[in-house]
């Protein structure tokens, strides 16, 4: 028996998949369109286009929530991650506990926790400020982001060879300088792929905010479906929403793949 040629490496991020997925959705929309026109109702595509501007603003809120949660979570997580590699045992233990707690709690439960437990109105210097729902949801998403970034930082620092620390020490760097000038710059490259991965996960978690009453894309889609009251719209509308998220997250996944691949070749 001749040796079997090795199977080509499977690649989930081949651009053809996006094309295939888009094609299937278009076909499904076309079929639904034909049926709707036959039944004398406005077509499915027209209806989706009619709602697109509204749901688009909701999607912008999804993106905003994810960006704010990611930015704040990264800053907090960076600090927490550095505390995890502190030389002081109590600091290390405390930050480890905090990280594990927020990493292992379900995101939805944390979201509920922030919605119910955080005040909906605060008084700062005599001025009363309402905290909108979406901001509290953003805080709810920031906490797990913080814990995950903390683990990414710790993992990246630990993945560097110990020789780096020793070399810096022999050159007379103190611990702060070593971290700032030697360790963290090298970690940055290692942290980028998992960090981008985390961002994709955060974007995909933003629809959770609809459960706690934030008017983002998911909630608006449900609202649109309730307003239309048409069974044949269910699959196309939810399908379009899935596709919108896919269109946003998939390039991130591809870029992450590319960065990982590049790092592997260099190593």
């Amino acid at each position: 028996m001749p040796p079997r040629p090795p199977a080509p490496p499977a690649r989930f991020d081949d651009p053809r998949w996006a094309a295939a997925v888009a094609l299937i959705v278009l076909l499904a929309a076309g079929v639904a369109q034909a049926q709707a026109v036959a039944a004398g109702q406005p077509g499915v595509v027209e209806t989706i286009l009619k709602w697109t501007p509204l749901i688009g603003t909701g999607f912008a809120l999804n993106v905003a929530i994810s960006a704010i949660a990611m930015a704040a979570g990264t800053l907090l997580g960076l600090g927490l991650g550095l505390c995890q590699i502190s030389l002081l045992p109590p600091v290390r233990a405390g930050s480890w506990l905090l990280t594990q707690f927020f990493r292992n709690a379900p995101w939805l439960v944390l979201l509920f926790w922030c919605i119910f437990v955080l005040p909906f109105r605060v008084t700062v210097f005599g001025a009363t400020v309402d905290i909108p729902n979406w901001l509290r949801a953003t805080i709810g998403l920031t906490l797990p982001v913080m814990a995950n970034v903390s683990e990414i930082v710790r993992g990246a620092v630990r993945s560097l060879p110990g020789g780096q620390w020793e070399a810096a020490e022999s050159l007379g760097f103190n611990r702060g300088q070593t971290l700032r000038m030697v360790i963290l710059p090298q970690c940055l490259k290692r942290m980028t792929p998992p960090w981008m991965n985390l961002y994709a996960i955060v974007v995909m978690s933003t629809p959770l905010a609809s459960i706690v009453g934030v008017e983002e894309a998911m909630a608006l889609t449900r609202g649109a479906l309730n307003a239309e009251r048409r069974g044949d719209l269910l699959i196309p509308m939810y399908g379009a929403l899935l596709l919108a998220f896919f269109a946003y997250c998939w390039p991130i996944a591809r870029a992450t793949r590319w960065l990982e691949h590049r790092a592997r070749v260099r190593a």
Partner: protein, 248 residues
């Protein structure tokens, strides 16, 4: 039991902390039933997603190209769309076109219950990640090992079952561990389609008894307990499967 109930009644009287689930038989019954539902949902979806991962990773190496495309398309799509939207899509969109059957009292009930839809959605979502995880494990199996199985006359399935998968499994256990933890946490999404799991019932209880903070903390502790149990089991398993000479 009566002692515990007495303690929590006393706690309510003295501090105002109202843990109804420990002294109110009705709340206790529905909460522990929800706990069991969450465990069932987690257990079944872990098993199903593992099966999807194993089968999908095998199909990714198939020589029949359309099968590979199908698996790749599935993985790309489910990895890059929000699990909540997937669940709504399954329950509301696909659930609307699945047939209904009459139940004992003649009411039309859907053939696929919301628990089953949650199970399907969660398994497909986690399964897509598992396919990728198993694939990375399979890629880590040395080429020479696969060639050796060919020389010994293994079929592709035989080699996968007896040689490649056992090796790949050990390589990808840490990543798998991570994904399964995520899956257990994601079971809370079943709340959105009305599966009476812990979050859903906790919500009912705090709507009735107005003990949001107490129930919230009970929930967090229980989920962290469940996840810790899973992590502990997986670590034990990892140690039991460890091969000398492989890994650090």
């Amino acid at each position: 039991m009566e002692l515990i109930a007495e303690f929590f009644r006393g706690l309510r009287a003295s501090t105002g902390l109202n843990f109804t689930i420990f002294y109110d038989p009705f709340d206790a019954a529905r909460f522990w039933r929800a706990f069991v539902t969450t465990c069932e949902l987690a257990l079944y979806s872990v098993a199903l997603s593992l099966a999807i991962g194993v089968a999908g990773a095998f199909a990714q190496g198939a020589r029949f190209a359309p099968l590979r495309w199908l698996v790749n398309g599935y993985v790309a799509f489910f990895r890059n769309t929000p699990p909540l939207v997937q669940m709504y899509f399954f329950f509301f969109a696909l659930g609307a076109i699945t047939p209904t059957v009459p139940d004992d009292i003649g009411m039309e009930v859907p053939l696929v219950s919301n628990f089953a839809w949650a199970l399907v959605a969660l398994s497909l979502f986690a399964g897509a990640f598992n396919v990728e995880i198993f694939r990375s494990g399979i890629e880590a199996v040395p080429r020479a090992t696969v060639e050796a199985t060919e020389a010994l006359g293994y079929t592709r399935l035989g080699a996968y079952r007896h040689v490649v998968l056992p090796l790949a499994f050990r390589v990808c256990l840490p990543a798998l561990n991570n994904n399964l933890v995520n899956l257990v946490k994601t079971t809370t999404l079943a709340y959105a389609i009305g599966v009476p799991e812990m979050l859903y019932v906790a919500n009912q209880i705090w709507s009735d008894a107005l003990n949001v903070t107490e129930m919230m903390n009970v929930l967090l502790l229980l989920y962290i307990g469940l996840v810790s149990l899973l992590v502990w089991l997986m670590h034990r398993w990892e140690r039991a499967l460890r091969m000398p000479g492989y890994g650090a």
